[in-house]
Symmetry: C2
Subunit: 394 residues, 2 copies
């Protein structure tokens, strides 16, 4: 059997998160390892009402095969929302996908030849590394931090052989929670615009800003060089698996072919229900509820960290999204801390899977969106104890 | 932009059907070009009831991210259904996919290296050609007819360099409507079993038998060499995009990685609704309604053909499914007939896109599942006239 597998599937990193967490955790374990939106905030009643309305008002065509591009009215809704933010996105340049994860797969399919250079944030989103790895690019890491994408490193990368794609999550990045500052965006765009490189601006968390102001998107700065990915997973529900790609005309034609070959189209029924939900509710009012909860959870986590972590642990300061990123003292690895912490019944994701460059990793991701303030406080306290235990042990 | 596209995406044939039918058809055009199940038979009320029950009985987790393998209870239902047919399929070997089209994509991802030999039925399913083409195999056509897969051609193919995969639709094939006879299945399995080739048994129509008896599946004849694809699209609704793959353990592990990289998982909500529908209704009773309608539609089409087509047009005799396949006299091409027929306001799919070998094609696909008996009669009459017009013109 093994001889039959494709080379590409052997290149894909296993889900590290799945691996490290596959053993049953002790009862009472507090998990900061999640990457899920908070289920308590799902608009279940509104979705139910929208579903009932769709059943009542629409014919049986909601169950039939439909267009690969997606429901026109849903694509119009997305275009209208972009317009509100000052982005002019023609409806014909929007393709509905089965979550933005599928957006990544379709971009890999249509753009990546084996060995193509693909710039990726370091640390970067594991799901993107997995999706692209199937198309066997050569990953080129570009560091990101609270200063945004490292422009020296970017200049260095762009001065070499042509880079086909750069993948980034400029808002409240997964895993680090960082946001590229406004000036950094302009600097990055100025560099990329001078090349034929496409920048993939993945923005699942952009709406989840609980502090500060919305910043300029790369699509605004360099529409010709930008492909945008969007998703309803973090602002409505992930279980509908609905996202989208915004792409230039020529690429759009190829993406439609790839979409057709991949799964024909995303569920017509779910697109109808999502559309009805969006028509009957003010999405921004709902988002307000989410950001108010996540903002509070983040503050509780930051305060607990200040109280319980040694001073030589540094943290990012996210203004939105679901994640905090910690950097441990030089002497400590994230995996060592994980092994200690799991004994104290608290878990997180060690930074290791988010790097394409192997190395000694002392960073880690902490999720706050799925944990109550009480549990955040006790979990961070336990984690602080684990860090001090390791420090003492030296 | 064009320079950025991957080589693979340029290999994928455009949807010929989409291309030839993209121009608006004259009002009153009768279409045998469809490939859709009949919407009038969708169990809309039952699905609505199931959906309401899911909202009532299940918590918000139906909207959350879920397992890449799919809902365990839905996989158990599928295993139980196989057991009824005498097939022993462990639940752990079933992966839920976003329609069986995604099953094809995942198999391409996990198994096909560029240049691998992939045996494909000729004529063969266009969706499979498109899905696999993205992984750049070398297609090796193996003729199929009402005698099943051509065993001489198969022996010839298997005697050459190793063939990694053979793709087939043994029941009521799309496009031809043919079913491999029992003896042919045993002969094909005996040949394949002696190799390391995997046979992909795609069976979206198997339940739609309106005449004759169910035949032995390749999975029964050679479980080690068979991967099965199944789908709810033709027996419940296509708009839910739910299908599945049955694969051996080692391949299953790779498929889960590929599924995760491709779209994380199929909609948790739709899987719950489908499961509830299946628990609250007897699927076989529903299938009975479909086969009774399709069986009648097929008979009406056959009778009209006998009345209106010249004798030198030969037809397949499907015992199930949604398609008939016609072979025109030597002097006529399917495209010429299409161009004549569209003027008479009747359309079908010329055989051309179903062949990986270029050539002069005089076969065509006629769909009867979506057309009423009255329209079938007038459409076939018009088509008969078009054939005679071309014959006279010589």
């Amino acid at each position: 059997m093994n001889a039959l597998f494709s080379d590409r599937i052997n290149d894909v990193p296993r889900s590290f998160i799945r691996e490290i967490l596959k053993d049953a955790l002790a009862p009472g374990t507090i998990s900061f390892a999640g990457g899920l939106p908070n289920r308590d905030l799902f608009p279940a009643d509104e979705i139910q009402a929208a579903t009932e309305k769709v059943f009542r008002l629409r014919g049986k065509d909601i169950f039939q095969y439909s267009q690969s591009e997606g429901l026109p009215e849903l694509r119009e809704y997305i275009a209208a929302r972009y317009r509100q933010r000052g982005l002019d996105v023609p409806v014909s340049n929007i393709l509905i996908t089965s979550g933005s994860q599928q957006g990544l797969d379709l971009l890999g399919k249509t753009l990546v030849n084996e060995g193509d250079l693909l710039g990726i944030e370091e640390p970067g989103y594991l799901g993107a590394i997995q999706a692209f790895a199937l198309y066997r690019p050569t990953f080129v890491p570009i560091p990101v931090s609270e200063q945004g994408m490292d422009t020296d490193a970017l200049a260095n990368v762009l001065s070499g052989p042509p880079v086909k794609l750069i993948y980034g999550v400029p808002n409240f990045q997964n895993p680090s929670g960082v946001t590229y500052p406004e000036a950094n965006r302009h600097a990055v765009a100025a560099q990329v615009r001078a090349t034929r490189t496409l920048f993939i601006e993945d923005d699942p968390y952009g709406d989840l800003r609980f502090e500060g102001k919305h910043l300029t998107s790369f699509y605004q700065l360099m529409p010709e060089n930008t492909v945008m990915l969007g998703s309803f997973s973090k602002v409505v529900v992930p279980g509908f698996r609905l996202g989208w790609i915004v792409a230039p005309d020529a690429l759009m034609q190829k993406l439609i072919i790839a979409k057709q070959a991949s799964d024909l189209h995303s569920s017509s029924f779910l697109q109808e229900v999502m559309l009805q939900y969006l028509r009957d509710n003010d999405l921004d009012v709902h988002i307000q509820k989410i950001t108010s909860a996540y903002g509070q959870q983040k503050q509780v986590m930051m305060a607990a960290i200040q109280q319980h972590f040694p001073e030589d642990v540094s943290m990012t300061h996210p203004e939105g999204g679901m994640f905090l990123w910690a950097t441990l003292p030089e002497s400590m690895t994230a995996m060592a801390l994980f092994n200690e912490a799991v004994k104290d019944r608290v878990v997180f994701v060690p930074g290791d899977p988010f790097y394409v460059t192997p190395g000694v990793i002392r960073t880690l991701r902490l999720n706050y969106s799925c944990v109550t303030p009480e549990l955040i406080r006790s979990g961070i306290e336990r984690l602080g104890t684990a860090i001090r235990t390791l420090e003492t042990r030296g």
